[in-house]
Structures are given as C-alpha cells and as structure tokens.
C-alpha cells in the first residue's frame, strides 16, 4: 500500500478529519510496526465555550480561537508520496527535503514532523529524530495514536543513543497511549 492511497480516503467525522496513516515497510527505513494502522486524528482543539451571559464593556479576549479543521491538502499528500518514493529509493536527503517542503505548506501537521523524524533516524541522526518526534507530539494534543507512534520513535532514537533507560520510559508512554485508544 502506498501512502497516497491511504491519504486519499479521509473520513470526515464530527468535524474532525480522520486520516488513516499509511504504513508500508520501505526498504531503507528501519523495521517498524507492520500491523494495520489505527486511524490518526488530526489536530482538534476546540475553543472553550464563550460566555453565555451578555457582557458589559469590552469584549472578552479569546485566548484559544476555534479549531481549524483542514482537509489534508492535495499538495501535502503529493509531497508525502514523493517523500516516500525517495525514502524507498534510498535518497533520504531528498525525502527530508520533500517533507520540509510539505511542512512549509502545512507547518502544524504533526504527521509531517513525525515522518521527518523517521527519516532523520534512518539517516543516523538520532538526537535530531528524537527532538522532531517531540515536536510532532506538541502539535498533536489529544491525538493518542500519533503520540503513541511518536513515543515509539523516541524510544528507538534513545536506544540509538545508548539511552536504554530513557527508551524504556518512552516505550512505556507509547504503550499507555496505545491502550487509551
């Protein structure tokens, strides 16, 4: 299955865009989970309810504006496909470039940061990969599926840095999040 195929089936549900994350096993990626992937819930941060009572004076500030539920843009889907092809062909640097191009278009797409982290790990830059996975987490509040996958990646990145203790903690987080799904 290619990434593109998976992405072409977004299911709109309760105002959230549910995306199924593709999970092929590319030749040059390190081994990863090959089970059928669970749905990934895109960013979904609703605003706190507005004051119901009529207010006197100045309008209340709105610290957290309403959620932006954006359908995955075809441009981003296309770039993900390109990145996947490049990664599978062994050109990880080009795959990184394509993912960064996608991030320029959709900077807060946690999935893109996750893929970038994966590629960076395959390139042997475990510290960078770990940080990028943390970044992906910060962009996916409430998205336990994405977070669980990020923690799995963090665990691998930590092992690659000989941080076994940290890796065990990350594995634990990944499992907890997976159980919450």
């Amino acid at each position: 299955m290619t990434l593109i195929k998976w992405y072409r089936a977004p299911i709109l549900s309760a105002g959230l865009v549910l995306l199924i994350q593709g999970c092929s096993t590319p030749v040059h990626y390190p081994p990863r989970d090959t089970r059928l992937p669970p749905p990934v819930i895109e960013q979904s941060v609703p605003a706190p309810a507005p004051l119901p009572t009529p207010q006197v004076g100045m309008p209340q500030p709105v610290p957290v504006p309403p959620p932006v539920t954006k359908e995955q843009s075809p441009a981003v889907v296309a770039l993900l496909g390109t990145a996947e092809q490049q990664a599978n062909a062994g050109d990880l640097e080009a795959a990184s470039a394509s993912l960064e191009r996608a991030i320029r278009i959709d900077p807060r797409n946690a999935l893109l940061w996750h893929h970038l982290a994966t590629v960076r790990l395959s390139q042997g830059d475990a510290p960078a990969a770990e940080q990028l996975a943390v970044k992906s987490n910060s962009l996916a509040p409430g998205n336990t599926v994405q977070q669980s996958r990020n923690w799995q990646l963090i665990a691998r990145a930590r092992r690659a840095q000989n941080n076994e203790k940290g890796a065990v903690v990350a594995d634990q987080r990944a499992r907890e999040l997976a159980e919450r799904q």
Binding site: Q43, S44, V45, P46, P48, A49, P50, L51, P52, T53, Q55, V56, G57, M58, P59, Q60, P61, V62, P63, V64, P65, V68, S73, P74, A75, V77, A78, L79, E93, A94, S96, A97, S98, E100, R101, I103, R104, I105, P107, R108, L116, R120, A128, Q131, L132, V134, K135, S138, L139, P141, G142
Partner: protein, 774 residues
C-alpha cells in the same frame, strides 16, 4: 694560450665554412627556440582551456513560489511575483516566461529550473483565483488538475569575485541556432572551415566593408577573438598578433569547433554595469532584456550579435539610433545569407529595441538579507568558493514579505518623523520576519534605506531590549505551577532592593504609578516594572539567566537585577531567536536563511535541514503565549487591533528603554514572527515607546498578511477556568469581568471570589477535552 691557438686554427678554416655553418646553427637555435615557445604557448592554451575556464559568482535565489489549490495568494501578489521573475504579459501564451491574465484566471508557461531536489520542468498552467486564494491549478495541455507546482525562484543577488566579471554559463546545445548563425555570419563566416586563422577573411572583410561603406566585418576569426580575450592583453602590437595567430592555430588543433564556439559565447564581453563586466550571451540576455536567451526573438539576437563589435559604442540605452542601425545591418546580412527570410528580416527591423529599464540593474536587491546569507555561508565555505565556484544558493527569502517590510519601515519612519517634527532621516529601524514553525528567515531590514548595503542593524545593532526580556521572567515563574499561575496576584507596590555591596535599586513603572496587587497575566500585559522586578528577585536572577540561555540566547549575561527589566543589549536578530522559541511553542529553532546549495553543475552540495530542540514544556509555552496575547488584547500592544481584525490571534510584547532611546515590538501570529526595532544611530531619544513606534511598523506589515493560523495549538495538559481578575480567584456568572485562563492541571485556585454569589456556574471549560473524546 690554448684558446688563442684554437682560434687561430678556426680562423684558417673559416673561409670554407663561413657561408653555411653559422647560419644553419642559428636557424636551428631559432627553430628550437620557436619550437619551445610554441610548446610553451601550447601548454598555456591547453591548461587554461581544459581546466576551469571561468570563476563564476554564486547566485542567490529567493524561495520559489509554491502553487497549489487552497494556497493563500492574491491575484495581485501573483502578478507581482511574475513581474519580479520578468514573465511577460501576452494575449496568448506561447513560450516559457509568458503569462496572460483574464480577471481571476492566469495562463502561465513556467520556466524549467533545477532545484536542490531535481528539475522542475516547464509547465503550461492555468491558475484560477477565488478572492485571495488559489482555487484551481490545472495543466493546460492535459486539462487535468495539478496538486502542486513551483515557479522558478527570483534571483535576488550574486556574490562576485574581486575582478567583478559576471556571466551566466551557457552550453552550446542550449544556445538558439539563430544566435550562433547570426554571430558566425557577422563575425567569422568561414568559422567552420578555417584552422584558426583565415588570411582570406581579412581580404574578404576589406571587400565587404568597402561594399557596405563601413566596417561590417572584422578580419580576425572567432578563434582569434577568443584567444585575444582569453589569454592576451588588449595591447595592439605585432608580437601580440603573432601570438594570437599561433595560439588560435593551437586551439583549433586541440579542440572541436563547437567547444571553441561555446567558449566564445561565454567569454565575449558585452556590457559594463558599473564595476561589473557583463560577459557572455547568457548574462547579456538578462542584462539587456531581463530574461533568458531562449526567450528572445530574432531582432534581439541580432542586437546582441551587433553589440560584440562595441558594447559601449552601440549601447542601446545611450545610443539607441546606432544600436538600431547596427541591429538592422545584422538582420540584413542574415537575410542575404538566407538565414532568415526577407520578410522576416523586414518585420524584425521594425521592432523596437526592446531593452529593459536601465534602473533595474542593481545587483543585490536585498543587501541586508544577502549579508545574513553570506554570514551563514561563511561557516561552511571559504570566501573564494562563495565568489568563484558558481554555487546556486537557495534561500528562505520571501520577496513579498521583504517588499512589504521595506515599505512598512520606510513609510512609517517618514510618517513618525513628520508627525513628531523629528529631523528627517534621524530615525533608523531594523526588522526580522520569520516563519513560526520552521524558523525560516522570510525578510530582513537592516535600515530604513533597503538598498543601502552598509551597517546592517538587524544583525549588528546591539541595543537594550527593555521589556522584551519580561516573558522570560514570567515563564520562569509559570514553570513552577505550585507557586505561580496566570491568576497569581503579584505585588506592584514600591520596591527597594539593596545589593550586598550596598547599592540600592528602586525600579519604577513607566506610568509612575503603583498598581497594588495585579494578576500575573496583567502584570506582563501592562508591562509593570515593579511587580516584574519583585517576581524576578523572588525567582533569582540566576534562574532567569538560565531560562534565557535555555530559550536560545547565546551571549553571556550578567546576573544583575537590572537584567530583569531588560538592561541587556541584543540585536534584532538575537531577539528574534529568543521570541522564535515562544512562537514555536517552546522549541529552539535555528533561524535559517539558506535551505540548500548546489554546485555549478547543479549537483546537490549541501542542505541546511530543519531541526528543533525542545526548550520549554508545551504547557508552559502555552501559558506564557496566553499572557502575551493579553498584552496585545488589553495591554501595551492594544494598538495592533486598530488595524488588524479582532479575531486575528496575535501574541507579543512591546519594549521601551530609558529616555525612549529604543522602541521595540516583538510579536507573532500562528504563521509568522516579526521583531521590529526603532532607534537612532547616535543613541539619542526617539520620543517613541514600543507601542507608538515599532508596533506601528509591525502592524503596517502584518495587516497585509492573512495569517489565519492560531497561535501554537493548546498543549494537552491544560485546563481552563473562569477567573475574577480582581482577586485571582474562581468566578461565576455574577462576576462581570471574569476572564477565562489556562492552568496546568491542579494549579488553578480552589476558592471562589467574593463576586461569585452562586448565581450559577459559568460554562465549564474544564472538560471540553474529555467530552470530545469520550
């Protein structure tokens, strides 16, 4: 003795040998010398010609414009970008570099371009706009929708070697045949037949020139001309002529005609632009016509070929009549040789010269940004590599943001000076704009005059930052949720602090008032000095220093209490680095001006990848951003909303230093971060606060953007509560001034404010998260 004897014997023989022997010897020596000389010339010719032939300046490109359905781009900005790329408006698009517009619909034939990640081929696009977004993108050849297309990037500058020779290298196969035909017709008709020198050509040239009643042809072959330009000085002497002839013969001996022609096309001198000499047809095409050679018409080729004879004498701007006559003469010769038809020649002769404007030849359009690029390059490349290896440098510069910034800064400074009766030109400014998540530098202003390539204030003007430092103090507090929340009341009553050495510090508020007890978020929003100083002293100045380092501040900081109120000097760029961490939700994100570098042969050399480093937990980044949003909603940054729509989410902080010497504003939306500084080079008072000065520039710029993204998505571990700001306690429907504030779980106040009289709870904001997912 012996010598004499020998000589005597020789003298006796001399009679017999005198006539032949010395002459033979001399001839032999001369022949050997001549042979050695030829060998020496040969070594020169082959070594220089085979090796690298030219040092090529690095070319610096802006970010390419990405086109896709749904991208935020107005038709007007699109047209501006096409103009910057010198795409030509036509009624019907026929070739690359042309576009047509019918209200909301553009037809564009893009130019092929080699990017870091490969070649983007030429495409025949139909771009349809709807309001300020791209509604549809389709391929006109197939009619099918396209998900993504890139335009070629705008060339924003070059880094030149010391001798200022500039060229765009051409390969012969990319050179239009009409051009080479015309060139050979005019300069060296026997090019493909001779062996480097053509004695008959000199005679023929004489004849042709006589017939034409002026100098139409020169006698020397293209090969000789190339040799002259390539190896020799321009002195006119017989020795040089001989050298030229020998070297021309040698060159022909070693190399194919096409190689020689290609070298000629790239070497020939075609214009002077200030100190920069324009060499080769590749660059000349851009210089005279603002577009690549492949996009020119036959009359334009004829003009370029005509210019070979004397770029200064036939300068089409200074001597248009001479240039036109020369061009038409070339066209006439082409028609005579049946390279073009007579009617084609007649039509071409009626064309206008079609040269671009002279004024647009400024080499480096954005000197302040290029300065940053150069500094970032210098960490990886030697100076001579930057100026001579023909690198292509892809940057993050967004020309549209850069133009907007330059106009905003210049316009606002003029306005401020005239409104306040400041001597014109006294106020200076600098600014940096970046993308929030990627840390890409989109624009840099180094001063109010954007074309001035001198002192780059954005990078080098280190000034006191004042209140811009405060978010670091409040962040340090909020990172201890058991002690401090956004609702914690801070003491803003007078403060006297005595150092160990007996020095006394008594900070005061800007409005010279004390505000009693104020909730933490308001103390930041209104930029109260006393409560901030007291808070910072409670936390410890050392702790604040380490927070600042964690946030990405690299310079050494002295842990003096005055640091808490911004008695520390930073450049606008350094401030941007600090605020980038807040804007990106707590990640130190290196500010990149370069994305990739290609070698001269377009092979990838280096990429500057996107990297981040977690510096603050997302929930604390969220809390401090919220306080900065209040600073813009209700505090010192309110003037933002005099121009920006109220629903636009902005977080920021003003900064003002003693005697109003520096006016700062640093603020971000969900998409972009901008830091603006206004001050004077002589460090005198500007009469401006952060709000009356720098903020206005920021606003003039950001009002042009449609930054719809919200500030960093809420962190997971956050709950919202209604708070009565007067007491910092929980509110209910009876509290009319209640605000909704975010808290780290468990840190919210437990008690209700006296205003809460059980008139019913405000809507529970706490559990929205669970409700959605359970």
């Amino acid at each position: 003795m012996a010598r004499r004897r020998t000589r005597g014997r020789k003298t006796s023989r001399r009679k017999r040998t005198r006539k032949t022997f010395p002459w033979f010897k001399l001839a032999l020596v001369l022949l050997l010398l001549a042979g050695a000389y030829v060998v020496w010339l040969d070594i020169q010719v082959t070594s220089q010609f085979t090796g690298k032939r030219w040092s090529l300046p690095a070319r610096v490109y802006a970010r390419p414009l990405e086109l896709y359905a749904g991208s935020e781009l107005s038709p007007q900005l699109f047209a501006e970008e096409l103009r910057a790329l010198n795409y030509r408006p036509v009624s019907s698009v026929q070739q690359a570099g042309q576009y047509s517009r019918n209200r909301e619909t553009f037809h564009v034939m893009t130019r092929p371009f080699t990017f870091w990640d490969g070649e983007e081929s030429a495409r025949n696009l139909r771009v349809t706009f709807s309001g300020k977004t791209v509604a549809q993108l389709a391929d006109r050849n197939t009619g099918k929708a396209i998900s993504l297309a890139r335009l070629d990037p705008v060339l924003v500058g070059s880094f030149y070697p010391a001798h200022n020779e500039d060229r765009v290298l051409l390969q012969l196969k990319a050179v239009p045949v009409s051009l080479t035909d015309a060139l050979i017709a005019i300069e060296d008709r026997g090019f493909y037949r001779h062996h480097g020198v053509a004695p008959m050509a000199i005679l023929r040239a004489l004849w042709v020139n006589l017939r034409a009643g002026g100098v139409v042809q020169g006698g020397s072959t293209l090969t000789q001309q190339l040799v002259k330009n390539f190896f020799l000085t321009s002195e006119r002497s017989l020795v040089r002529k001989v050298n030229e002839a020998i070297m021309a013969l040698l060159l022909e001996l070693h190399y194919e005609k096409d190689e020689i022609l290609e070298a000629y096309l790239n070497e020939v001198y075609l214009a002077q632009d200030g100190r920069r000499s324009i060499n080769g047809f590749g660059l000349a095409s851009y210089f005279y016509f603002d577009r690549p050679l492949a996009e020119l018409s036959v009359d334009q080729y004829a003009l370029l070929v005509g210019l070979v004879k004397g770029p200064s004498y036939y300068n089409p701007w200074r001597h248009p009549e001479r240039a036109r006559a020369r061009r038409n003469l070339v066209l006439g010769v082409m028609a005579d040789l049946q390279l073009i038809s007579a009617s084609e020649a007649a039509r071409a002769k009626t064309q206008r010269l079609g040269v671009g404007s002279v004024g647009r030849k400024a080499i480096n359009t954005f000197p302040a940004f290029l300065d940053l690029v150069r500094r970032q390059l210098q960490t990886d490349y030697r100076d001579e590599d930057i100026t001579s290896e023909g690198l292509s440098i892809f940057t993050t510069l967004d020309p549209q943001v850069q133009w907007g910034l330059e106009q905003s800064l210049q316009g606002r400074l003029n306005e401020l000076e005239s409104a306040r009766g400041v001597e014109p030109g006294k106020l200076e400014g600098a600014a940096v704009v970046t993308s929030v998540q990627g840390g890409e530098v989109l624009a840099v202003a180094g001063g109010r005059n954007p074309k001035f390539a001198g002192f780059n204030r954005a990078l080098d003007a280190r000034r006191q930052v004042g209140s811009l430092i405060k978010p670091a103090v409040y962040l340090t507090a909020l990172e201890q949720p058991e002690r401090y929340t956004l609702a914690t009341l801070l003491d803003d009553s007078p403060l006297t602090w005595t150092a160990r050495n007996g020095d006394v510090w008594e900070p005061g508020n800007y409005d010279k008032e004390n505000h009693g007890e104020v909730p933490l978020y308001q103390a930041l929003a209104h930029s109260y000095n006393i409560s901030t100083a007291r808070l910072g002293l409670e936390l410890g100045v050392d702790t604040i220093v380490s927070t600042l380092h964690r946030l990405g501040v690299e310079q050494k900081l002295n842990p003096y209490p005055s640091l808490l109120l911004g008695a520390v000097e930073m450049s606008p760029f350094q401030v941007t680095r600090l605020y980038q961490t807040f804007a990106s939700g707590g990640f130190v994100t290196p500010l990149r001006a370069i994305t990739a570098v290609l070698a001269a042969d377009k092979t990838p050399l280096q990429r500057y990848p996107l990297n981040v480093r977690a510096a603050i937990e997302p929930e604390y980044a969220h809390l401090v951003s919220t306080a900065m949003m209040y600073a813009v909603r209700q505090g010192t940054g309110q003037a933002i909303y005099h121009a920006l729509p109220y629903e636009r989410s902005v977080a920021g902080k003003t900064g003002t230093t003693d005697d109003l010497r520096d006016s700062w504003f640093a603020a971000f939306t969900g998409d972009r971060l901008g830091v603006v500084w206004i001050g004077r080079d002589d460090n005198q008072s500007t009469g401006l606060t952060g709000s009356t000065g720098a903020l206005r520039v920021w606003r003039d710029l950001f009002v042009q953007f449609n930054d719809s993204a919200t500030i960093q998505a809420t962190a997971e571990e956050i709950e919202y509560h209604w708070i009565d700001p007067a007491t910092g306690l929980l509110a209910d429907a009876a509290c009319l001034d209640a605000v909704q504030l975010p808290f780290v779980p468990g840190s919210a106040p437990q008690q209700h404010s006296p205003c809460a009289r059980g008139r019913g709870a405000l809507p529970a904001a706490v559990d929205w998260f669970q409700e959605l997912f359970e």
